[in-house]
């Protein structure tokens, strides 16, 4: 009973908040409603009993991604309304609607059958995080470690692209000699 009420409440609120995100002309409103929508999505995970994923949703989307967006937003004037240039709003509406419809159909199709079985079923009386941890550190240890390498690559890439002498070219400049030659020829 309570779960049903909570589900419909969360659904209505999430859809409403994301509508504000899309429709609002003010960046600040859009960002805030996006963050609130993300928080409410984690509510669905908690209803389904996936508390680990719910917490991950909160940390990753609300904590990390929204913080990144807010930092990016600080470079702009957030109080001003955005002037949108939709030359052909009918076409945008049609294409957006069609792709949304296709996505909903794709994801709804497998629900029709119940042949999906959990590969790593939950153990009774054991917390969600323990079960996830066991799968993550046995079966998925290699992808987990490769993800660490990926983060290392991203960190190195960020540091050298932003920090180390990228504002000056270390490529040997032969054009200076060439220009002298050309001027000599002209004389």
């Amino acid at each position: 009973m309570y779960e049903t009420i909570a589900f419909y409440l969360f659904s209505a609120l999430t859809i409403g908040l994301f509508l504000i995100t899309v429709m609002s002309k003010n960046v600040l409103y859009a960002m805030t409603s996006l963050a609130a929508g993300m928080v409410l999505i984690s509510g669905f995970f908690f209803i389904l009993g996936a508390d680990f994923l719910g917490v991950v949703q909160l940390i990753v989307y609300v904590g990390a991604i929204m913080a990144l967006y807010s930092f990016a937003m600080m470079f702009f004037d957030a109080t001003r309304d955005i002037k949108e240039k939709n030359t052909n709003s009918g076409l945008v509406f049609l294409l957006g609607g069609l792709s949304a419809l296709v996505l909903v159909m794709i994801f709804a199709a497998p629900i029709h059958s119940d042949a999906v079985q959990a590969l790593y079923p939950m153990h009774e009386g054991v917390g969600n995080a323990q079960d996830v941890g066991i799968v993550l550190f046995t079966k998925y240890l290699v992808p987990f470690e490769v993800a660490a390498v990926m983060l290392l690559v991203a960190m190195i890439a960020g540091i050298i692209l932003a920090g180390k002498k990228m504002d000056q070219s270390l490529t040997e400049d032969a054009s200076a000699d060439d220009e002298i030659l050309i001027q000599k020829d002209a004389k």
Partner: protein, 496 residues
Amino acid sequence: MLQPINVSLESLNLITLAPMLVAIAGGLIILVLDLINSKLHKTLYVMLTLLILFIDFGAVLGLNVNERGFFDVMLIDGVSIISQLMIIVASMLFIPLSLTSKRFHEYSYPEFFALFLFMIAGFQFMVTSDNLILIFVGLETASLALYTLIALHNRSNSFEAAVKYFTMGALSAGFYAMGSAVIYGLTGSIELYKVAAVLSLRMDEASIMIAIFGASVLLLTAFAFKLSLFPFHTWAPDVYEGASAPLAGYMSVVPKVAAFVVSIRIFGMYIDLGIEWVRIIILVLAVGTMTLANIMALVQEDVKRMLAYSSISHAGFIMAALALDTTEGTTAIFLYYALFMFTNLGAFAMLWISRHKVRRFSDRYDNPYEKFAGLINIMPMGAVIMALFMLSLAGVPPFSVFWGKIYVMQAAVNSGYVWLAIVMGLNSAIAAYYYLKLIVFMFLKEPVKSVDTVYYNLSKPLMAVIGLATVATIGAIFYIQPLISYIYYMISASGY
């Protein structure tokens, strides 16, 4: 409470991880060396990278075919061994190209070589798994490193190229993740052999086709971006133009080999399940790619952009072989890339030796055709070698790419696609025009008098790499038969 888990070390089969660990450890060694002494010359890093690649090569050769390791996440089959060997050989050809006689921005960073090794490890993870998560993580590791390698060239158009490639890559990563999610929702597994088992049981269900359609279209879009297939090819010429010439040549081979391996695993599975329209979509993409890229290549004014479109068209050729899904077709994919690798890297290396900091011949392009006018008078040997590469790319016998083309066509005819072989033949004829255009410029035109062409980048290591590529291009007739039988043996051993 949960039971403690006992895993025996033998069951992990850790040797399957050895090649990637060599590359990753090599990258870390380079980073640490730079921390200890930041004044080391780039020659040391080049040689160290080469050494690590040699060890990596040996580690791959030491693997047994058809083994799984680490809870079945790692999969060593013939396809993965061949593709790893090709990736490493192409990298060994690429790295010495940094030993130019002039200094370039990217090679003054030791991180360039570390990122390069991490990228190779990423590609190796990508090809040695049929677990969609590991494929994704490997692909992203490699791609992130590659974007940075492009941007390190440090010109405005290489930043443009890196950002374009990054945006397109992020989009395709999104498509890939969505496609994998649909597959998971459909079958409850992300390991392709289990997915195939579940799907084959559920093929007669009514609503399943639309979900399979969704999954395969999303995944096909993701890989069409990575393989630069029409209509997702638009990024490729700009990115190739902005990247340094050797990196552009490298990008037209190695990331595509890795993406083709994953495509073989995923779409080969769909075609094996009897889903015929996947084959039709791939054939339409392939024919569109080879034809339209050829027509676009005809009107290019820049040799590098022409080579970019030509490599897109070659990717279309190979995609057609993927649609056949026979052992011969899959062999053709690897044979084609093994031969194309040397010729294409050689052609891009020839552009590299004439790289200038400023654009001398045109405001817009680095390598316009005029730059190569009358090359036979300025640099006779270079002109002849470049002409050899062009003839090989055009598919003139007995040079290397001819054998790849003839093998693809043979595979097409043998599986009953005669029209496909005819389309390929016609496309080779169109392609000959733009390759010959460069030869005409080099041999028959007078050099542009007002600016002199200076090939100042030339050095002994570059000459060695170009010489090796030339030998591989001309001597294809001598090694083609053993190469085919080795690849065919490996492919059939892994059941494709």
